[in-house]
């Protein structure tokens, strides 16, 4: 849906503090980029700016000629705020986000199975561990395919086994022409270009 992501001389500030200036970044299909940088360097803000939630001070974020409003529909955002309601069951939440993100209802069970969530689907989200909850959020990305994944610390609550399996899922996504921009502190479990954010 979007041929590329191109960021030209971007400057972002939050709460009156300049995070970075003149950031240049380009992501093409099949490519994963690992964003590194110190705490508070602006990794999350960059992801939110690409998702259109923050207006940059300067610079330009373009999606290869696709209008930004249209491009939003091609973006999945996954962060520690996962939008899952703790009082609802995992199945209700996954079905809702799948449906609302334009996925087919049939994909819910399949993707839950792929992430070993089957037995957990009838539990309330509050009963899930942090890692299980992250897998549930991840299932949303698989159930409603979109080309650009913006991931904020995607690995942090996952155990070693699931970090590996998440790596395989990301490789599959890239093979299908997907793009990944992930803010990380630990290296991604796949070949990725590393971009450091600094002032």
């Amino acid at each position: 849906m979007i041929p590329e992501v191109s960021i030209q001389s971007l400057a972002l500030s939050r709460g009156g503090r300049q995070l970075f200036t003149r950031l240049i970044l380009k992501i093409v299909p099949g490519e994963a980029v690992a964003l590194i940088g110190r705490n508070g360097s602006g990794k999350t803000s960059l992801l939110r700016a690409i998702a259109g939630l923050i207006t940059p001070d300067e610079g330009d974020i373009s999606f290869g000629g696709v209008e930004p409003a249209e491009a939003r529909e091609a973006i999945h955002l996954l962060g520690h705020l996962d939008g899952l309601k703790s009082s609802r069951t995992a199945r209700d939440e996954l079905s809702f986000w799948t449906g609302f993100s334009g996925g087919s209802p049939g994909a819910v069970e399949a993707c839950a199975g792929q992430l070993d969530l089957g037995p957990l689907l009838d539990l309330e989200v509050r009963r899930l561990s942090a890692g299980q909850r992250r897998r549930l959020a991840l299932a949303r990305l698989l159930a409603a395919p979109r080309p650009l994944w913006l991931l904020d610390e995607p690995l942090s609550p996952l155990d070693a086994e699931w970090r590996g399996r998440f790596g395989e899922i990301m490789v599959d996504h890239l093979r299908g022409g997907g793009m990944i921009l992930a803010a990380v502190h630990d290296p991604l479990p796949l070949a990725a270009r590393t971009v450091e954010i600094s002032r």
Partner: protein, 221 residues
């Protein structure tokens, strides 16, 4: 099911669900109706005179109850971020949330309103107008209330701020609806107040989502 339908089903389930929703609003409303005669005295004439107005004021306050969680919940857990990543405009999303709020609290309150009014001694012939006013008024309360809820996003003690922002917006429907009910009770023409209430509700439904979406965008950025 379309995206908007999916969203409406979820929002209604959330508004209807635990820790809020119809039982709280109706319970509050029943509480006011029960306490009122104890406070103002139980002479039937006096009660009957104030019954429609008291029922109407209680309705406005009951509508305030669950308002502060309307956007706050989605703002805190990141759902508001994700909702914007869809082709559905934020204005429509806000409208759907208010509509769900109305379905979960306004509708049950409208059904409870004539019972409370009759229990307080209002004439049963007022019941039809009480329900109609409560339905329209509830719509105005939900959509105007949504503006306050969206504006107070991210503020500590947002509930108090919401009430302060919203109460002035609740004044016109209270005047129009209360006026219509008082006129009918007195045997006077009541349509003017009712029509104005309808116009106010229509304006709230039309303009409220624009203000709410702008306030949400501001809170997210």
């Amino acid at each position: 099911m379309s995206r908007v339908g999916t969203l409406l089903a979820r929002e209604t389930a959330l508004a209807w669900g635990k820790g809020g929703g119809p039982m709280v609003a109706v319970g509050f409303y029943a509480g006011v109706a029960t306490l009122l005669p104890l406070a103002v005295g139980s002479e039937p004439e006096r009660l009957a005179a104030i019954a429609p107005g008291a029922a109407w004021v209680a309705l406005a306050l009951a509508a305030l109850l669950s308002l502060d969680r309307l956007f706050e919940r989605d703002y805190e857990d990141g759902a508001l971020d994700l909702l914007t990543l869809s082709p559905v405009p934020l204005e429509i999303i806000c409208a759907v949330k208010c509509l769900a709020q109305w379905l979960a609290t306004g509708l049950p309150l409208a059904l409870a309103a004539p019972i409370a009014a009759i229990a307080l001694g209002a004439s049963p012939m007022l019941s039809g107008l009480v329900v109609a006013c409560a339905l329209l008024g509830g719509l105005a309360f939900a959509f105007m209330g949504g503006i306050g809820a969206a504006l107070s996003l991210g503020a500590r003690r947002g509930g108090l701020l919401t009430a302060v922002i919203v109460l002035p917006l609740f004044v016109p429907p209270v005047i129009f609806g209360g006026g219509a009910l008082a006129s009918l009770a007195a045997g006077l023409p009541w349509s003017a107040g009712f029509v104005l209430l309808g116009a106010y509700a229509a304006a709230a439904v039309a303009l409220g989502p624009l203000a709410m979406a702008a306030a949400c965008r501001n809170a997210l950025s």
